[in-house]
């Protein structure tokens, strides 16, 4: 501390040798940041004093002081180094606290075999609904499925010559898929909280994410093979199976008839309607069907520069007509 600093400066004033009396040097000097700061400040003041004193002194004194100045320079560098170390330590601690992706690491701890097994399981409805079914809280599979859905959607949008007015093709696809996954998961988690279901947010995300596997299959098949009846069959069978599985798992974790009904109904409706929306909003409608259904009073189908809501309405009307005709 101050005593040590005084001893450092004292021998410089006498004799031609720079002897530093290390005995009284404080042991804690250099180890504590505040002490170093103080010493640094003191050394700066001494340097200023020396600078004023040296202006009058001759060259021989420079030789005498070289040792002292050199040592002070060394100490100065050490102080600077110390300050850098402390600053770096604090910054890296803050960074590792906030930008730590290791929080997500346990959710990505899967093997390829497990992912494949879970994908297949997501299409098989469970039978035991009186015993809470296990849900793996894993995020790798759902994330990859959402990205796959984005890719399939892009393919479908491009082949149907969809022209998006506000926004871009890619942005719409990503927004739709991620919005569905995150939004509906949050909404279902909220409902589950209201209905006292035993499910955590990660499990809900995982469940819904794996439920998108059915959507991926259906859309992949029907974007390439344009048969309306094929789509309805796929919608019912594939979509239905994955919805049944999700619903069964959720039901097994809920008590009470009303709560079960609310949860199942909401999830089933949202899941099936999403598949319907994805198919019709972003898919080329086979023009032959339209021509046969529409009478002369309907305007000709606009293929250039159309907005999505207009397409959906027109398509929904024609679909309703098609269903009515087939029944």
């Amino acid at each position: 501390g101050p005593a040590g600093a005084d001893n450092v400066s004292a021998p410089a004033q006498g004799g031609g040798s720079a002897v530093i009396d290390m005995e009284n040097m404080d042991d804690t000097s250099g180890s504590s940041f505040e002490d170093m700061g103080e010493m640094h400040q003191r050394m700066k003041e001494e340097e200023e004093e020396e600078a004023e004193g040296e202006a009058g002194a001759g060259e021989e004194e420079d030789g005498e002081f070289l040792g002292m100045k050199g040592l002070r320079g060394q100490l100065g560098r050490q102080v600077a180094d110390q300050m850098w170390q402390v600053g770096k330590r604090q910054a890296s601690r803050a960074f590792s606290l906030y930008a730590n992706i290791d929080i997500l690491r346990p959710y990505f701890d899967v093997e390829p075999v497990q992912v494949r097994a879970r994908l297949l399981e997501s299409m098989i409805p469970v039978k035991m609904i009186n015993f809470p079914q296990k849900i793996a809280g894993e995020l790798y599979g759902p994330l990859m499925l959402v990205f796959t859905l984005v890719a399939i959607l892009l393919h479908g949008m491009k082949t149907s010559d969809t022209i998006i007015r506000e926004g871009t093709l890619m942005g719409t696809a990503i927004g739709t898929c991620f919005g569905y996954w995150l939004g509906v998961s949050s909404f279902m988690y909220f409902l589950a909280y209201l209905c006292n279901a035993q499910i955590t947010m990660v499990q809900m995300l995982s469940l819904l994410g794996y439920g998108l596997f059915g959507h991926c299959i259906t859309l992949f098949v029907t974007y390439n093979i344009h048969f309306h009846s094929l789509f309805y069959i796929c919608w019912l069978v594939v979509g239905g199976l994955s919805t049944l599985r999700m619903v069964a798992v959720l039901v097994s974790r809920t008590v009470g008839h009303t709560q079960r009904l609310i949860l199942c109904g909401t999830l089933a409706a949202l899941h099936m309607l999403f598949l319907l929306y994805l198919h019709f909003a972003y898919h080329k409608v086979v023009e032959g069907i339209l021509d046969t259904l529409e009478g002369p009073n309907m305007p000709p189908f606009q293929r250039v520069a159309r907005d999505i809501p207009v397409v959906s309405n027109a398509v929904l009307n024609t679909t309703a007509k098609a269903i009515a005709l087939t029944l």
Binding site: V19, G67, G70, G73, R77, K158, I163, I164, R165, M170
Partner: protein, 217 residues
């Protein structure tokens, strides 16, 4: 310290000498300063490094040179050229039929970031920028495919040209995926390679899809 208990210095032996500290003879940083060399040297050195990495991508061998000294010049150049070549592909000039410049940029960089995070979360040993570097450089075959597609489309836009474009883009897509897998899969635990390869496959698939569906005005 028990061994030093009997050490004593008598009062009248002066401990003296000179303490001369070499001031400024050793600079703390060991790298030589590249500030004084002519600009041509700096540019040529960087260009050579970028060129060497391009050669590594063309002939994917398991070498660590690409990983060790990463740089993002190559990916930037490739990204910008790909985005520029994908311009002007809309049916109407008013509506956004084709991908915009910013869109391509965002897709490539956002996709690369997601793949990097994914591989890190799965237990990979590669660093963030090294992975970005590899993924960016492996976009090169697809840029070449884009160039070829544009040239083919100058000749005409029929079924034959579509088949040619499909073959070219498909081949380049396979090359990109294989090249990046050769570099990145080594840094993963052996039984999880498939988990890392799939997002890379999807990423280059989306870029290939953008290239294949490009139709000029």
């Amino acid at each position: 310290f028990p061994g030093l208990a009997d050490v004593s210095i008598s009062q009248d032996i002066p401990v003296e000498g000179e303490i001369t500290v070499p001031v400024g003879s050793q600079s703390p940083d060991e790298d030589y300063s590249t500030l004084d060399e002519p600009v041509k040297d700096t540019i040529m050195r960087d260009l050579k490094a970028v060129g060497k990495k391009f050669v590594h991508v063309m002939y994917p061998r398991k070498s660590s040179a690409l990983l060790r000294d990463w740089d993002l010049w190559g990916p930037l150049v490739l990204c910008v050229s790909l985005a520029l070549m994908l311009q002007g592909g809309s049916a109407d000039s008013k509506d956004d039929g084709g991908p915009q410049f910013a869109e391509v940029f965002v897709i490539i960089w956002f996709g690369a970031v997601v793949i990097t995070l994914n591989s890190k979360l799965l237990g990979g040993t590669i660093s963030f920028f090294q992975s970005l570097c590899v993924l960016g450089y492996c976009v090169m075959p697809l840029t070449v495919a884009m160039l070829v597609c544009r040239l083919v489309l100058l000749a005409g836009a029929g079924t034959v040209s579509f088949i040619i474009r499909l073959i070219v883009v498909g081949a380049m897509f396979g090359w990109s995926t294989l090249a990046s897998t050769a570099f990145l899969a080594d840094s993963q635990p052996p039984n999880r390679k498939a988990l890392v390869v799939y997002p890379i496959f999807l990423f280059y698939f989306v870029i290939s899809w953008m290239i294949l569906t490009f139709t000029p005005q």
